[in-house]
Symmetry: C2
Subunit: 432 residues, 2 copies
Amino acid sequence: MSKTLIRAMILPMTGPDDFYPEGEIAIEDGGILSVGEQGSAPADFVPDRIIDLPNDVVMPGLINAHTHAAMTMLRSYADDLPLMPWLETKVWPFEGKMTDEDIYWGTLLALAEMIQSGTTTMLDMYASMDKVAEAVLEAGTRVVLARGLIGNAPNGERAFNENVELVEKYHGAGNGRLKVMFGPHAPYTCSGEYIQKVKAEADRLGVGIHIHVAETEDELKIIQEQYGKTPVQWLNDLGLFGGHVVAAHCVHLTEEDMQILADKKVCVAHNAESNMKLNSGTAPIPELRAKGVVVGLGTDGASSNNNLDLFGEMRTAAFQQKLKKDSTVLPAYEVLEMATVGGAKALGLDDVGILATGYKADLISINFDQPHFYPRFSVPAHLVYVAHAGDVRTVMVDGEIVMEERQLKTIDVKKVCQEVEQRAKAIAQGLV
Amino acid sequence: MSKTLIRAMILPMTGPDDFYPEGEIAIEDGGILSVGEQGSAPADFVPDRIIDLPNDVVMPGLINAHTHAAMTMLRSYADDLPLMPWLETKVWPFEGKMTDEDIYWGTLLALAEMIQSGTTTMLDMYASMDKVAEAVLEAGTRVVLARGLIGNAPNGERAFNENVELVEKYHGAGNGRLKVMFGPHAPYTCSGEYIQKVKAEADRLGVGIHIHVAETEDELKIIQEQYGKTPVQWLNDLGLFGGHVVAAHCVHLTEEDMQILADKKVCVAHNAESNMKLNSGTAPIPELRAKGVVVGLGTDGASSNNNLDLFGEMRTAAFQQKLKKDSTVLPAYEVLEMATVGGAKALGLDDVGILATGYKADLISINFDQPHFYPRFSVPAHLVYVAHAGDVRTVMVDGEIVMEERQLKTIDVKKVCQEVEQRAKAIAQGLV
């Protein structure tokens, strides 16, 4: 049994007043034994290794509650275009050419970037999810896998079967680091019948469901024309809600929609940067949180962001709401909650998201010994309004160090960058 | 005469199609001799030093067109409060306790952070500006100094005289790295008479004027009640415009206001993050640019941002406009223009902001050999939508290297961080 002691400033995210300026965390076999001031570890705890980070803040690893990891392959391939031409002439043709291997390498690149920016867990919706699972098992991070299901597409049935197989093969794999959900894409790409079939199968297998909901005004129009309802009301009437559902975006909601999400305990994955860049709108996050809805933060895919950096996402999430409402909404600590414990709850993970006895040792350290972190008036404000991805020094998942002094321990970063460069450029050239 | 050759990917910001994937820049005595593909330097150019950065993008140093550098002292001291209580109970009492020496150290900290995030020039409006000048001379960066003038305050006359002395002492100092402007704070803190006096003195001394304009809706109300006009129309009627004026914020403008700014060649310093965080609003930047108004980007002070990172500012500036209008406005290259050549023009500097023969060697390199910069489809999109402050590797100002491999060459960063920590905490404790 490996035993590690980390000494640092510790922000455990167990409450706004909890902070240990000279703290320590005792870790045994991937789990947290104790968190507190120095000297608080059990007297009989003899660590194999002591990691001294007196100028770092250690906090829970960040949780990306909505992404399409392999879309790193399309990073900066097409920007600043209107939505439909962007999708129809750029994104979809490119994705149509991507192979299983492309998705494997694109996901590994995403994981390298995520680790370097402090993200230890992601909820990923894409295709070739067995390749995503393979990449995550190698990288050593935590994931919830959701096969993206376009019910209306010719491969709708095959994708459904793949999702079932994914549950059987990977739910609980990697010492519990891998979980699986169903991923019906959206109410406008899946029929009501298809969504109900997914819901029944998810219930049968005891797993959750991840779906895009109310992302754009166009979606509202389409669903209104087709069904005479809002997307949330349509999905509710179909019986989708009630179990564990993570709804991404939720930008355009009525008061009734928000109440349904709250009543049915639907979790929301908020994607501030994607919603701004694609002109989708400003999601009613303070209103949802006021109703008790669990909200996590997501980056969306790297074709609409264009990075996977949750530090940037936290800052943008705060600024966007302050712009819309007033300067007091979403204070720094609440934004940190969304990126950690909120994301964990949204993903249905009850053993990550905070640093406390019995939780998994998924944690990151941020190098506070830099000019932009002085003076040190508020650690939460520094983390949300000041920090950037490059400030992350150390990353641990399930008790294993996956990055140290910014060096990745589980990914051959040179090889991954070269593979993605060659593969992405080859696809783009084939489309000219 | 020192001679340096830099080999790298080069984005000179001389036009959207100008990029040298294997480029070189010949630098002699602080000035750029040539920029082009490798082998383009003059045949008789024999460098003392060759800097090879094959995986870096070299571009002009970023220009911060509006800041209050020493407000790093208040970083994360107070956030998430309504505007007036924030100013009245936190910012102003703290500032009231700051000494000349506090401003010196706070400015040095700001300069350390700016260099580390790729900023080589700032337009700084604050008090004790001789201390700011001292800090900039030490740090080796470029600055336009504007003494903040609250005409209505008891020290209005003294501050005016300080600004005059500042021009006489520092305009053109440091091998031309220092310039001076007058800094009447805003139309609601200076009388019309005071503003006219400042304008006359600025004209007499041949220097520009920096002023906050139309930042908040409250300001609009105040000026409307006092003068029956918009802030822009009031300042125009006073005769302030016509010479070189940099107007910060300009969030709330009528069509007529924008036409006045365009006709009178007033330059605008846009502060996207501050405007969002303080709920000021979204400035009509695409509209101003369409009318030919020169726009630069600023971070504002670190008490309302809370960093001085222009990479974050670029991303936010793009996202904010896309959210308001549509996904096509402010494409990446235009945002880069605002942060470089736009800022230079706004500050009245005709020898920085692009990399070309005859310009000063103010440049930065960004380490593109990292996962988040793959694949390399678009350098401008990567710089605006992907890059963060920590990606800056090398910074040169006036031909001198001020940062190399992220190590500051001109600032004792440990000392500065310690001084600011002690001084800021002492002020805060005195106010409890």
